[in-house]
């Protein structure tokens, strides 16, 4: 009884084989349905993949919670940003009239938009929660052009899988998958709490992805690139965050 019997050994062996082929089948299915995040390799790859795949299966169409006007935070915290640089200051002195959002990549009609053009899209207003990965949070009313409308306007091609977005601060860029990019609550926000979006909160133009944490909500957006693969961007991990040690997917 203290020795492992042959039957147990065979059962265990079959179990291992079944488990391994199960994992292999699951991973090929996950790849086909786009459930593997760009930082899904490495030591933490399994955990990241499980989180991203589970949340994609569970939340593809779900909407971030929206709140009552009475719940808007009186003292939202802007967080600190690196110095914005001369180019930004010049644009700010001009009332951001010269601000441009370039949209390129897998688009039939790549083009750039002025702020006025972005504001002419049917705007969406929503009162949502913004939580920082550090633990603090606030609720604000955001107004902006739904990213989906802009992606439609440039004729996004069907093979698009991600949208890469960049800040005027050159080392600050992120990306989201099409589930988040086409989500009706994902905005290129230009207004906050009934006013123009303040510079401290990302004005004149900020990505608002309310189903993900603060660091996916990049401030000072100047460029969108629609792509079918993130391999050619930076180190191929999806965004600047994994390069700095943070997960690409920030839905948790």
């Amino acid at each position: 009884m203290s020795r492992i019997s042959r039957r147990k050994l065979i059962t265990a062996g079959l179990g291992v084989v079944a488990g391994a082929s199960g994992v292999a089948a699951a991973s090929s299915l996950a790849r086909r349905y786009g459930l593997i995040p760009p930082d899904g390799g490495g030591v933490y790859g399994p955990g990241e993949t499980l989180t991203y795949a589970a949340q994609r299966l569970l939340t593809r169409h779900s909407s971030a919670r929206e709140f009552a006007p009475s719940q808007i935070s009186k003292d939202p915290f802007a967080n600190e940003v690196d110095p914005l640089g001369e180019a930004f200051q010049r644009l700010q002195e001009g009332g951001f009239a010269g601000w441009r959002l370039a949209v390129d990549g897998l688009a039939a009609h790549p083009r750039s938009f002025t702020l006025a053009e972005l504001k002419s899209f049917p705007a969406r207003s929503q009162i949502t929660h913004l939580a920082c990965e550090e633990g603090w949070s606030y609720i604000a009313k955001w107004k902006g052009a739904p990213l989906a409308l802009i992606l439609d306007a440039v004729g996004t091609l069907p093979q698009a899988r991600y949208v890469v977005y960049r800040s005027i601060q050159s080392d600050w860029w992120e990306s989201i998958d099409m589930a988040d990019a086409m989500h009706p609550q994902t905005l290129l926000a230009h207004g906050m709490n009934g006013r123009e979006l303040p510079v401290a909160f990302g004005g004149p133009l900020r990505m608002r992805v309310p189903r993900q944490l603060g660091y996916k909500n990049v401030k000072y957006i100047t460029r969108l690139t629609i792509t079918d693969s993130l391999k050619g961007f930076g180190k191929g991990l999806g965004s600047a965050s994994p390069e700095g040690g943070y997960a690409w997917y920030a839905g948790i």
């Binding site: 939580a131 550090e134 606030y138 040690g245």
Partner: protein, 265 residues
């Protein structure tokens, strides 16, 4: 050590006839069986995952060692309470003249990966415990033990720091049973729920998971307290294992109940 085991075993054998043991102690047939393989494997995987969750959780916590109630909270709003520790962010006023290095990246990766390990292992364990009667047999206290007399007897024995009786070599006493049940079906589900409630994507799919707790910051605060209670459990657990024969108990959780077979007789 092996002699001690052998003695315990012999004593237990003898006493099972002579001494009226607590009602929790299951009679002869199952009493000698040690920890089932599933229990042992899931125990150690959970132990490792929990340590990783603890370390990474502390690292995440120090980026904002302030707690709030409701949906929102930041350095601009009054906290429910704050921990008197330095922070890893310059934006948090702590009273310390320095800022700790930012460890949130790998801590969050490790936290969620370990959470998956703990949750999947927990599912295997709970499935096993329900299907083979492990909970009913080994963890559910007997009604007789839940009487005031039964409870006060065990509590008094603990307070006097008396060693565990022979009847506890093979079975959990009523306090252990209640504690394990509280940890398995109370604290672990609570810490998982409050953890998920902090996820904006999960909250979008299951908003009631957040609103039932009073908000996302409430979830974070409850998550912290659940983790504190789990840590207290871990410390108590290790101390009790130490007091009741560390090597023996650890060996039993690694190899089942091998004392009687390992004595080389």
């Amino acid at each position: 050590m092996y002699n001690v085991c052998a003695n315990w075993y012999n004593l237990a054998m003898a006493d099972s006839v002579l001494v009226p043991v607590a009602a929790s102690v299951v009679p002869v047939a199952t009493v000698r069986s040690g920890h089932a393989p599933v229990v042992r494997v899931t125990h150690w995987i959970t132990a490792l995952a929990f340590l990783a969750l603890l370390v990474s959780g502390v690292e995440i916590l120090i980026s904002h060692p302030r707690f709030y109630w409701g949906e929102t909270g930041s350095v601009l709003t009054p906290p429910l309470f704050k921990l008197p520790i330095p922070a890893s962010r310059a934006t948090v006023p702590t009273g310390y003249g320095y800022v700790l290095p930012d460890q949130n990246g790998w801590s969050r990766y490790l936290h969620f990966q370990s959470a998956w390990v703990a949750v999947l292992t927990g599912l295997v364990y709970v499935g096993f415990g329900l299907s083979n009667g492990h909970f009913r047999r080994n963890l559910l206290p007997a009604r007789a033990d839940l009487s005031r007399r039964g409870l006060s007897k065990v509590i008094a024995r603990h307070l006097r720091l008396n060693p565990a009786g022979e009847d506890e070599t093979w079975s959990y006493n009523v306090l252990q049973r209640l504690t394990y049940l509280l940890v398995i079906f109370g604290l672990f589900p609570l810490v998982i729920w409050t953890g998920l409630a902090m996820s904006p994507a999960f909250a979008s799919a299951v908003p009631v998971a957040v609103t039932a707790l009073g908000g996302q910051q409430s979830a974070r605060t409850i998550h912290f307290f659940a983790a504190v209670f789990l840590l207290l459990f871990l410390l108590t657990h290790v101390v009790m294992v130490g007091l009741s024969g560390f090597r023996n108990r650890v060996q039993a959780m690694i190899a089942g109940a091998p004392a009687k077979r390992r004595e080389g007789v």
